[in-house]
Each structure stands twice: as structure tokens, then as C-alpha cells.
Subunit: 248 residues, 2 copies
């Protein structure tokens, strides 16, 4: 049976996250409802590159599924794009080898995090960026970012209660851009993988460094502590975007 890989975008505002849950509206649930309709009522399970939490968005989530029909790929993409709800878009569809796995074969993920620093906060960004009300010294954050690069045990930046034991991850890129016109900070993190709530804890910590409430030179100590209590708060989900997932 052919295996399909699809790149999808979604506005996470009205979803209870990616992963299917009974009686809750989820990205996986809605996508599988659409697949069931075009598969004569038979269920097709999709596999995502990873979960995203409630309120978290995606510009480039990757999924795979098996579908016993070889349609023209653009027709397939169009059918899925137009038949899924309007808060899901299907950007591309391709056929991949049968051993491709959207979750297990990930080699790199990129996330962005948008922060609204406008006064007052923009009513248009309330679901699409986190508002930060304190003055931010961008240079302090930029001083801290390089300390995150490379391979580290990120236990201090992982929500407690996670089942995953190996908390070593490699970050290839960590940058902060400032959009003056939009009154926005945009963080970008690229790495081989990220732990549960890791980006949100990184951003919560970096914003406290930018506002002077955590010393911006202390990333090495926070990492060395391997204790969630040493890092800053968890930023809200609505600023977070899964931008891109790469495979071997």
C-alpha cells in the first residue's frame, strides 16, 4: 500500500493539540475524519513528526499515512486541503518509501516563537504571539543564546513528569530577530529534537534575562543543574510555531 507524506499547517487556537483524544477537537482527529470520508468510511491512522500542545501552531508539521489508492498527487493535496477544516491547510503531498516514518526518522526540527512587545498588546495577535509587557534588552538575550548551542542535557528546560529518559539534545541554531514595525520579537530554534515544553521554557527564561530578572550569563549553570527549578517560567503556547521538519 502506498505511503504518503504530507506537510500541513494549522492554526492551533481551536484545537486541543495535535494528538487524537476522545471527545476533543484535535488536528489528528479532524485529519483522520477527512481521510475516512475519502476512503469510503474506513479509518486511516496518521502519524505526525511529534505532538503539539493546545494553542501551538504549525507552518510545517509533517505526517505520514498509508492509503490504498494512487491518485494524482496535486489532486490528492487539493482534496485534503479543501476537505479538512479551514484551520488546517495541506501544503504538499508526496509518495515516500514504505519504511518512511514521520516521527522516527526526523533529523532536524525548526520552531519559531513570536512575542508581542507592543503597548498596548495587539488585539490581532492574542492567539498568535505571547505578549510581554516589560522592557526587553535584546542584547542580553543575544548574549545568552550562543550558550544554548551544541549538545547538552536539557533536563533543566524540560517540563517535569516526562517519561523520556534521554534528555540530551543538540541545538544547531538559536537566534532572535526584532521586527520593529510589528513590535515583535521572533525567536528561532533549530535542533535535532526538543523535549516537552522545552522551547517554551527556553523562551520564558530568555525573556526574564532580557528584562534583567535572570542573569544572562547563567545558561551554563542552569544546564549544569539538571533541575527544572533553575530555569525561568514556561511561556504561553500561543506564540509557538512548528516551522519545519527535516528527514534523512
Amino acid at each position: 500500500m502506498p505511503r504518503y507524506k504530507a506537510v500541513i499547517a494549522y492554526d492551533g487556537t481551536n484545537f486541543n493539540g495535535f494528538q487524537i483524544q476522545p471527545d476533543k477537537r484535535t488536528v489528528q482527529g479532524e485529519f483522520e475524519n477527512t481521510l475516512r470520508r475519502i476512503n469510503n468510511g474506513k479509518t486511516i491512522t496518521i502519524f505526525g513528526s511529534g505532538r503539539t500542545d493546545a494553542g501551538v501552531h504549525a507552518e510545517g508539521q509533517v505526517i505520514h499515512f498509508d492509503f490504498d489508492q494512487t491518485r494524482d498527487l496535486e489532486k490528492m493535496r487539493y482534496a485534503l486541503d479543501t476537505q479538512t477544516p479551514k484551520d488546517i491547510a495541506v501544503k504538499s503531498v508526496e509518495i515516500v518509501p514504505e519504511d518512511f516514518h514521520a516521527r522516527y526518522h526526523v533529523v532536524e526540527k525548526t520552531y519559531c516563537f513570536r512575542v508581542d512587545i507592543g503597548k498596548p498588546r495587539s488585539p490581532f495577535k492574542r492567539f498568535y504571539a505571547t505578549h510581554f509587557m516589560y522592557p526587553v534588552d535584546v542584547n542580553k538575550i543575544r548574549r545568552a543564546l550562543p550558550d544554548l548551542l551544541g549538545t547538552h542535557d536539557f533536563t533543566s528546560f524540560c517540563a517535569s513528569g516526562t517519561a523520556i529518559e534521554d534528555k540530551v539534545r543538540t541545538i544547531y541554531e538559536a537566534k532572535l530577530e526584532v521586527n520593529e514595525a510589528e513590535k515583535e520579537l521572533i525567536f528561532t530554534f533549530r535542533g535535532d529534537g526538543f523535549l516537552y515544553k522545552m522551547i517554551r521554557i527556553l523562551v520564558g527564561t530568555l525573556l526574564k534575562m532580557g528584562s534583567g530578572r535572570i542573569d544572562e550569563t547563567t545558561i551554563p549553570q542552569i544546564l549544569a543543574a539538571k533541575d527544572r527549578n533553575f530555569a525561568g517560567p514556561t511561556a504561553n503556547p500561543e506564540g509557538l510555531y512548528l516551522m519545519e521538519v527535516k528527514y534523512e
Copy 2:
């Protein structure tokens, strides 16, 4: 009693327009609820520069109201901004002469209209831009825009059934910008005033010119006809933004 002028922004998605209506959520209704709370339960009526329809947004709507209390202006702005719902922001508050009127003294208004030309449509823009699915020749639209400048009878671009008799308006600026990265067209119209649904009919007509279904040289004939049937369709409300209102 001091008269206040305020500049407000709102996300029109969840409002039944600006103007107060019984049992419907409106910008005016929500704003007056907030004023009533800070005025010991007594009603204060607000006057806007004009109505906006359901789904239409504002970055710079102007209102005035009389309030028998002289607070520090920034405290007043902050109180109104934080106590109004999150889809309304209060950008500035000032005290104006008692004869200032937000509607009658307008000398210039600027509107923008955002069109999502991405394939697929962006799930993030479904409430913030109108999606247009056909190829657009931007040069055809830019050929048509200068024909709108100046003083004309805009009856052809006004929704029928309007009570206003004088349909002569002056347009000072009509431009189209292309945001390639965002896959967006952004129209800007600046004039002494606009008729009911005028911008949306202008955009609906211009998009048909851009896609080759209405000749782009025919604005003068459409204007001369003074008949709504000669113009194109009315574009959806969700791309429209009231950007700025100017006074004498």
C-alpha cells in the same frame, strides 16, 4: 464635562460590527459596558468615526465620549485597554474641545484591504485576509487605480439601499503593494470618506480586473454609469481594516 477622544484597535472577527445592537456583541456595546463599570454604573455613550461591518477590523478607529472625571490620561488609557475585552485595544486617549465630534469632523480616512494569494490559503489568515484563488496580474490593477483618484460620484461602488444621497467622494490615494514573502496583496485607499461597502466593492472589482475578467481600463465607464450593477462583486469583510482617521 471633559470630552475624550480615543484611538482604538479591534479584531472584528467576533463582533457583529461596531454599532450597538440589542443582544449582539458589538464594539460599541463592549466599550460602553467597560465605561459603565468605571463610571459607577452610569451609561456613557460613545460616538465612532463611522460604523464598521461584522468581520471588519480596525487599527485606528476614533471615538469620543464625555466623562465627568479628569484622570491622568495614561491611567485612563491603561484602565480602558485592560478592562475592555482582549479583542479591543485602546491605543491613545486625549482630552479634546467640547465641540469635537468623531463622526462629523472627519476630514480623511485610510483603509487597507489584505488579500491572501497563497496556495493553499493560509489557515492563519482566514479571519484577517480574503483569499483569492485566481492568478492576478498586478500591473492590470495598477493600471486601473489612478482612474479612481480625485472627486467622483461613486454610486456604482456603493451598496444599493443606502440612505445617503450625496455619493460624491474624493480619493487622494489608491495603491496596491505586494508582499511576496507573505503571499499577500495589500490595497490602501485614502479619501475624504467612503460610502457603504465602497472599499469592498472597489476591491472586488479590482481583483476581477487583475484576473482578466473585467477590462482594467473601464473604471471611468463604471463611474459614469452610476449603477451598482456595472461594478464587480463585493469582497468579503475579513480583509478590511480601518487604519486611520484624521480631523481638521
